[in-house]
């Protein structure tokens, strides 16, 4: 990873007033969803399920706002020409940009800590499930960050990058791929059902099952999207 680019992008995000608006909107949405739609106060929440259940869709709305500028702004301002003529490999640039978005997303996830502490005061917490839920939310952030970086690299402006990132994220989270998979694979064994679905893998983790397949699913998807991002950036050089 190129730490200089990572630090610069982080600094650029936090020096921008919109960063704090993004954080505020995220907190507001997360807490409103947990308390009003998730009935946080009336449901037994030893694993904070009412909080984590809404997180994927909220993150799908917020993470594109963090990632939208990562490549689109470099192209718009022309600084991409500087960046690509610095002695930095393209793969390092991709990782640095992705790491910036993921770091900010992880900081955002930490805003759940006050709720965790308060809940812990009143009821005993299920630490195993909580650990798995945090892993789930971080892995979801990884994929959404990679989606965001990719959509930023294919968009001309940050606004288009946000919309594309939002659509991709919402689609990925809410679409079930069972029909698609069974169309391609007619005699699909039953245990393959839901293998590509976000909800199956996310809920496995929320239920405290830290299974290997779910981790591979999220990590694989992240690598695939980053690879597409790499191809896109290499494609700019070729034009």
């Amino acid at each position: 990873m190129q730490t200089a680019v990572y630090k610069r992008d982080l600094m650029s995000f936090f020096n921008n007033g919109s960063a704090y608006i993004i954080f505020a909107v995220y907190c507001l949405l997360s807490y409103v969803a947990a308390f009003f739609w998730g009935d946080y106060l009336t449901t037994g929440n030893s694993s904070m399920l009412s909080y984590f259940i809404f997180q994927p869709n909220i993150l799908a709305m917020i993470i594109p706002a963090i990632s939208m500028r990562s490549w689109a702004d470099e192209k718009r301002s022309g600084t991409i020409e500087n960046l690509l003529t610095f002695p930095i490999s393209t793969i390092n640039l991709i990782i640095s940009k992705f790491a910036t978005v993921l770091t900010i997303s992880t900081i955002m996830v930490l805003f759940s800590l006050p709720l965790l502490i308060t809940t812990g005061i009143y009821i005993p917490l299920d630490w195993g499930s909580l650990f798995c839920s945090y892993i789930a939310i971080i892995l979801t952030s990884c994929v959404l960050s990679a989606f965001g970086c990719l959509t930023s690299s294919i968009s001309q402006t940050p606004a288009i990058a946000y919309l594309l990132g939002l659509l991709c994220g919402i689609f990925w989270i809410n679409f079930t791929f069972n029909g698609l998979l069974s169309t391609i694979w007619h005699n699909m064994p039953f245990y393959f059902e839901g293998i590509l679905n976000f909800s199956n893998n996310y809920h496995n983790l929320l239920n405290g099952q830290l299974n290997f397949y779910s981790i591979i699913y999220f990590a694989g998807l992240t690598f695939l999207l980053l690879f597409c991002n790499l191809l896109k950036v290499e494609d700019w050089r070729a034009k």
């Binding site: 200089a4 650029s12 921008n16 022309g78 020409e81 690509l84 003529t85 002695p87 930095i88 050089r237």
Partner: protein
């Protein structure tokens, strides 16, 4: 130091560089001269690895540029056309960022920063935001960033474009000084630039080199010493 052999570059079906051949060594200032659209910027972008070529070869110290691009780019300093910079950063922050990208040691960075600031007279703007700088200062910051790592090959795309006469003189004197220990390649469409720098001149037209000479010879060749007229004839007969 740098050798270009039969370089070709096309965008889609349009060939913008055709059979470009030249050699350049340390201690030279090369002015790429040509009308708008002659291929100067494309050639510079190819020389610093930003654009891949469609044919031919660029050798840097005898090795192909693309063989170890990241390492080879350590030898380059490049300032693109219009000097794209991160406008939200302060001048010092930007130069520090560039120093980190080139992995300069803190001591070396301090030494080089002092030198660059002194030679390009950036002292007064070091703590100012780039967005608040005049065009002249932005250019100087761009040049400062390009030379911070003491590159052996300095490539500047229209460095004096839009500067006032005093700033032009400052920059030209600086380039003459710098070229004693490096190869400097600049592009311009101003004849006065080649005269002021007393440099080697490569005239490009329609993507081809139509003249590779020095200013004194160019003046001798020009009918009645009228270089402007001669340049006009050269770049129009080739159409």
């Amino acid at each position: 130091m740098i050798e270009v052999k039969n370089l070709q570059k096309s965008f889609d079906e349009v060939c913008v560089l055709k059979d470009i051949c030249f050699k350049a060594k340390q201690g030279e200032i090369i002015t790429l001269l040509g009308p708008n659209g002659a291929g100067k910027t494309t050639l510079m972008r190819c020389l610093c690895g930003y654009l891949p070529t469609n044919g031919g070869e660029i050798l840097v110290d005898g090795k192909p540029l693309t063989a170890e691009l990241t390492q080879t780019l350590q030898k380059f300093g490049y300032m693109p056309e219009n000097t794209p910079l991160y406008s939200e950063m302060k001048v010092f922050e930007y130069l520090k960022f560039v120093g980190e990208v080139y992995k300069m040691s803190p001591d070396n960075f301090k030494k080089r920063l002092k030198d660059v600031v002194e030679k390009l007279q950036l002292n007064d703007v070091l703590t100012k935001k780039i967005s608040a700088l005049s065009k002249g200062f932005r250019r100087r910051v761009g040049v400062g960033a390009a030379i911070l790592n003491t590159p052996k090959i300095l490539i500047l795309d229209e460095p004096t474009e839009g500067l006032d006469p005093n700033q032009k003189t400052l920059l030209r004197n600086f380039l003459k000084e710098y070229a004693k220990k490096a190869l400097v390649i600049i592009s311009t469409h101003l004849l006065e630039e080649t005269e002021a720098l007393a440099s080697r001149v490569i005239i490009l037209n329609n993507g081809r080199i139509i003249k590779d000479t020095n200013f004194t010879n160019l003046k001798k060749e020009a009918p009645k010493g009228n270089i402007s007229r001669f340049f006009y004839q050269l770049t129009h007969t080739e159409d």
